[in-house]
């Protein structure tokens, strides 16, 4: 058992990075946090930049002119991908929080099966859905006119 020495999170930020015995779901948790923080930073900047539309066409076009170019397109695509992941993984987390897709309680008989095994198909399904959304976004950003 982890010795927390009276502090609930002895490992701090580095504790996010290790999956340990939790497996892939723990890395989904890490990615959920990273994408969430990225989206929050982008969102706060987005509110400031897009508020220029309230000052008319010249202000809007000047603001949009400052955020164009291949680097910004790539950045926007990463924001889209972060949104797709965070949204579908968030739905998975809400479903699990509400008790869906976690299986029924069973006798602890060897070989043991945990709730994580019951949750895995949902995790795989939502990752496939996130992948499809990112693919559609990639098509729209980089391929279609």
């Amino acid at each position: 058992m982890l010795d927390t020495r009276g502090r609930p999170n002895r490992l701090g930020v580095w504790g996010w990075l290790g999956g340990g015995r939790w497996g892939p779901e723990r890395y989904l948790y890490t990615l959920h946090r990273v994408t969430g923080l990225g989206l929050l930073i982008y969102f706060l900047l987005h509110v400031v930049v897009t508020s220029s539309r309230a000052r008319g066409m010249a202000a809007w076009e000047a603001a949009m002119g400052r955020v164009t170019g291949p680097l910004f397109t790539l950045g926007e695509f990463l924001v889209f991908a972060a949104f797709a992941y965070h949204a579908v993984n968030g739905v998975r987390l809400v479903l699990i929080e509400l008790g869906f897709a976690i299986g029924k309680p069973i006798e602890p008989v060897y070989p043991y099966r945990t709730s994580v095994h019951e949750q895995r198909p949902l995790a795989i399904g939502v990752m496939l859905l996130a992948g499809l959304l990112v693919l559609a976004g990639g098509l729209d950003f980089f391929v279609l006119p």
Binding site: F43, R53, A54, G90
Partner: protein, 124 residues
């Protein structure tokens, strides 16, 4: 009890964001595939499209609802992450105040921008 209530609001805000940000992303970033709400054609951020959307009360309301839900969801999520790192009671209080005031100021500014953009678009 208070944290349970805030957590429930966090989940509900997430569902609101799923709907409205999903729509926003589809309009702004899946435009070549779906072509939603861009009546002037071309890029979704072209001024004529921005004006056309701003004229609709639906978009004004949806932007303000999305702004409030996203600020609450994002800043409460940030608060949880920061609190996990074990700050002392004084720092917790300071972080609560900072995030609340920062969220409210951003909400007022963003809501003003959405409302003012609609008012301006209706004069054009």
């Amino acid at each position: 009890m208070r944290d349970q209530r805030l957590w429930t609001w966090h989940l509900l805000a997430g569902l609101v964001i799923l709907v409205f940000l999903g729509l926003h992303m589809a309009i702004m970033h899946l435009d070549a595939l779906l072509g939603l709400f861009n009546p002037a054609g071309g890029h979704p951020v072209a001024w004529d499209n921005v004006v056309a959307r701003a004229k609709h009360g639906f978009f004004t309301v949806s932007y303000i609802v999305l702004l409030g839900a996203a600020l609450f969801h994002g800043l409460y999520g940030l608060r949880n992450i920061l609190f996990e790192l074990g700050p002392g009671p004084g720092l917790k209080k300071g972080l609560n105040a900072l995030l609340t005031v920062g969220g409210l100021v951003t909400f007022v500014y963003g809501a003003w921008a959405a409302w003012a953009a609609t008012a301006l678009a209706r004069t054009l």
